[in-house]
């Protein structure tokens, strides 16, 4: 292991970044690649967000006002795909690139050239995906879950482009996953045993295994679609002896672990941030690690809870119900541990902590609705209504997205060497908090009252809550421009950040200066 580090040291340690565009195009430095991932992710967040604004504008009132149903469906589909694959996942890969080497005392990621590839595939993939909006017949319009045969026999011509875009995203994710695993398993500083790793590193290690396990399944299912569309097979075409339900099984075998791919790194980040601002060690480190492991394993045997209404045999129904309920136990353990970490700490509420505390509260609310959805008989009433929309936005927006914001504020001083503007950041937090709850809480009521999801127009009794929800969504959307401003301002200047700007923070990343130099840990630190 040390041999690897030595060669790296002599080759690279003494020159800085290349000049101009070459620095980014040929980047192999984990910090540069991390930055590119984060910038890309935020761009996609704004793009996917503007599609959400279109959706919420159309739903502001009953009746069709702004867009036609066909385009509405393209918007919901593209919004979902862009947010999942373009915003949330790349943001976490960006954080992983920046922070994992710093946290484990490694000089860089283990496979820097592959790292470059896995990033640069993404802009190409999304250019391909977004270009479908301008094609004849329009963009994919079958939902981010692209159920066959709506997406095969009945799909628009652009479906083929969508399939290739998904393939590219998958390849990028798999390469990213391999890189994370190789880095964590091989490049830890001497003395950094597995059970001493920061939780962010642990959650990413497990996430990377999930990625490698399920992205090929996604690739498989879109390839089967491709065959059905162009090569005369009938995997999902009942008319040819195929099975539309098979599609859903394969998709959700990918899809459920995927939702944990989007949340586990946030669990990790929050587990760094809560102790730092509670000035108290994380409660139950070991049980946190085991809980993440348990969640990851269980996530492979709950997929059909998305399919309670497809008419599975009752035995299957029961199996998936029990397993899904079971997954709430380790999830609960994590929440209890975070609260116990705060309990009798010495708390302060800087922006990262605000986002992290909101994460715990609101993610738990999403967990509660998840538990309700897990009760199969009740899911017959909830399924495919706005109740589900409320559920997954509660786990994804204040879960994944707030986790990312918390991380960004927590580590911005390390990345830029400047403190961000705390007042603006708190404003960003409160406006996001209010906007997001206003947008998504009423959706619980809408769903329970009977509003199906993915509809461009609705019955009159849903009007009030939809209007409230749209106003909340506009507030949330507009607030994110403030975040852009805060980050740009922080990159440009501001109060100089010390190596360790948070007095309660622990970990190797705080032992290097701020901003972190281009090359760090050329000689591995000693961990006691």
């Amino acid at each position: 292991m040390s041999a690897v580090i030595d060669t790296h040291d002599t080759e690279h340690a003494h020159h800085g970044p290349a000049k101009g565009i070459r620095r980014w195009l040929f980047a192999t430095n984990h910090k540069d690649i991390g930055t590119m991932y984060l910038v890309f992710s935020f761009t996609m967040f704004l793009l996917g967000g503007s599609m959400a604004m279109v959706i919420r504008s159309e739903l502001f009132q009953p009746g069709l006002q702004i867009v036609e149903p066909e385009f509405f469906n393209q918007m919901t589909t593209m919004h979902g795909l862009i947010m999942v694959f373009g915003a949330v996942m790349p943001a976490f890969v960006g954080l992983a690139n920046w922070m994992i080497p710093l946290m484990i005392g490694a000089p860089d990621m283990a496979l820097p050239r592959m790292n470059n590839w896995s990033f640069w595939i993404l802009p190409a993939a999304f250019a391909l995906l977004v270009s479908t909006l301008f094609m004849d017949g329009g963009a994919p319009n079958f939902g981010w879950t692209f159920y066959a045969p709506l997406s095969t026999t009945y799909g628009p011509p652009s479906t083929t482009f969508f399939i290739f875009a998904i393939h590219m995203m998958g390849i990028s994710s798999i390469m990213g996953g391999i890189n994370v695993i190789a880095t964590i398993l091989n490049l830890r500083a001497p003395g950094m045993t597995l059970m001493k790793m920061p939780l962010f590193v642990w959650t990413w290690l497990i996430t990377a295994f999930l990625l490698i396990a399920v992205m090929p399944v996604l690739a498989g299912v879109v390839t089967m679609m491709l065959m059905d569309i162009h090569f005369g097979t009938s995997f999902f075409n009942a008319g040819g002896g195929g099975d539309p339900v098979l599609f859903q099984h394969v998709f959700w075998f990918f899809g459920h672990p995927e939702v944990y791919i989007m949340i586990l790194p946030a669990f990790g980040a929050v587990s760094e941030i809560i102790p730092a601002f509670s000035r108290k060690p994380l409660f139950g480190y070991a049980s946190m690690v085991y809980a993440v492991g348990a969640i990851a394993l269980l996530s492979f045997v709950v997929w059909a809870h998305h399919m309670f209404t497809v008419g599975m045999p009752v035995a299957g129904q029961l199996f998936f119900m029990y397993c899904t309920m079971l997954i709430a136990v380790p999830t609960g353990v994590k929440v209890f541990n975070w609260v116990a970490t705060m309990f009798r700490g010495s708390l302060t509420f800087e922006a990262p902590m605000l986002f992290a505390v909101a994460f715990i509260i609101l993610f738990t609310i999403g967990g509660f609705s998840g538990l309700m959805l897990a009760i199969a008989p009740a899911d017959f009433q909830y399924h495919d209504t706005y109740f589900v929309v409320a559920h997954f936005h509660y786990v994804l927006v204040p879960g994944a997205i707030f986790g990312i914001f918390a991380s960004a504020y927590f580590w911005l001083p390390k990345w830029t060497g400047h403190m961000y503007d705390e007042t603006l950041a708190k404003t960003h937090f409160w406006m996001s908090f209010i906007g997001m709850n206003m947008a998504f809480f009423p959706m619980h009521f809408l769903g329970l009252a009977g509003m199906p999801r993915r509809i461009p127009d609705y019955a009159l009794q849903f009007a009030d809550f939809n209007m409230i929800s749209s106003i909340g969504a506009f507030l949330f959307g507009a607030t994110q421009l403030l975040f852009l401003y805060i980050v740009v301002k922080c990159v440009r200047g501001g109060e100089k950040a010390p190596a360790k700007p948070w007095d309660g923070a622990r970990g190797l990343e705080w032992t290097v200066p701020s901003p972190a130099p281009f090359h760090t840990f050329a000689t591995p630190p000693e961990v006691k």
Binding site: V333, L347, I360, I375, P377, L448, A449, A459
Partner: protein
């Protein structure tokens, strides 16, 4: 607006009217009108209160810390970071709660799956974008289409009370009988959901899913398709009209008689004007959603019929297009969905409306012959 003012007023009036406020805003699941829907409602409320109690405990501790254990209040941090017993307890207690929840959930699920010994069988078929109901025992069936006028959807007219939740022909069912639904689809996946019946079942091509309901009270129960099924997914509502047994029997007899009448209509001698008049109506319910009331379509997905080569060209091709649809496009095969009378009327209408003055007509009898010749 008036409703909103009313609601705010009621809210201000305070707790005593709380119930009615909730009823009006419908913030909760309906208990429904079947034993299954009431069981589901019970499960829903139980798990909801379980979550509320857990939430109060967890957030209670958290808010206490946020309030009391602040550095700004000079609170010094403790240094504990594990406690085996507490950790075991908060793993086991939630587990036990879940086991207790799983028992009634399992019982309800088993009941929902028990479709044996039904009194009536209704086959439900999803189409883009309407439902078809087949009464298997009495051998008649019909389509149920959205009845909300396009003007209301496009904000050219005031929206009525049942906006988007109204159909031309509701599904009529008797109360107090066990009805088995056999749910399937002719194109993409749909899902048949009526909240008050506690029934939601996916309609999947190639599958026949079974579910059932025994309705306790007469009434009108509304629902919608809940699986994204294409452009007009939001526009294929479901209306169930539950009536007392004798009223139901009367309705069934009417339907059987009507089916008989339709057979007579097919053999009747039609004039062109009669066909055009009937065709205009049928066109507007069945075809206008895509091809537009004025025949202008929405190219390229939905071609215009006004002046189109099919609607003004050879009759054979026109018949074939309407009866068998066009593979790989949104144009469905209407041959099975519409009666011969309506097919003949629509085709005659299309060949003579909007300046397509071909002067042609086709009779129901000729449509029937065409269908048979193609088999």
């Amino acid at each position: 607006m008036r409703m909103t003012a009313l609601r705010v007023g009621t809210l201000l009036a305070g707790l005593p009217v709380c119930q009615s406020v909730f009823a009006d805003w419908t913030v909760n699941m309906t208990p429904g009108v079947t034993s299954v829907s009431r069981d589901i409602y019970g499960l829903h409320m139980t798990i909801f209160w379980v979550c509320v109690v857990i939430g109060i405990v967890v957030f209670g501790v958290m808010f206490w810390s946020i309030f009391a254990h602040r550095r700004s209040k000079g609170y010094k941090p403790a240094n504990f970071h594990e406690h085996t017993w507490v950790e075991i307890l908060w793993t086991i207690i939630p587990f036990l709660i879940l086991v207790v929840m799983a028992i009634p959930a399992t019982a309800t699920l088993l009941r929902m799956y028990d479709t044996k010994e039904a009194d009536i069988d209704v086959k439900i078929t999803g189409y883009q974008w309407k439902w078809h109901y087949d009464f298997l025992n009495e051998k008649f069936g019909y389509f149920s289409n959205l009845a909300t006028p396009q003007e209301e959807i496009h904000n050219l007219a005031n929206k009525n009370e049942h906006y988007l939740l109204q159909v031309d022909e509701p599904l009529v069912l008797p109360v107090g009988k066990k009805i088995r639904f056999l749910v399937t689809s002719s194109d993409v996946i749909h899902s048949w959901w009526v909240p008050a019946l506690g029934v939601k079942k996916d309609a999947i091509p190639g599958y026949i899913n079974e579910t059932w309901a025994k309705i306790d009270e007469p009434g009108i129960y509304r629902g919608q398709c809940t699986e994204l099924c294409g452009t007009n997914h939001g526009f294929m509502p479901i209306v169930v009209k539950a009536v007392p047994e004798d009223e139901y029997q009367g309705w069934v007899q009417d339907q059987v008689a009507q089916a008989e009448k339709l057979r007579e209509l097919t053999s009747k001698d039609w004039t062109k004007d009669e066909l055009i008049a009937r065709g205009e109506k049928a066109y507007n319910t069945t075809c206008a959603a895509c091809h537009q009331p004025d025949g202008s379509g929405a190219p390229p997905t939905f071609p215009a019929l006004k002046g189109s080569p099919v609607a003004t060209g050879p009759m054979e091709k026109h018949l074939h297009t309407v009866v068998f649809g066009v593979q790989g496009t949104a144009m469905q095969a209407f041959g099975k969905q519409l009666s011969e009378v309506d097919l003949a009327a629509i085709i005659t209408y299309e060949r003579n409306a909007w300046g397509n003055n071909t002067g042609d007509m086709v009779t129901p009898k000729q449509v029937l012959d065409f269908k048979q010749s193609q088999q």
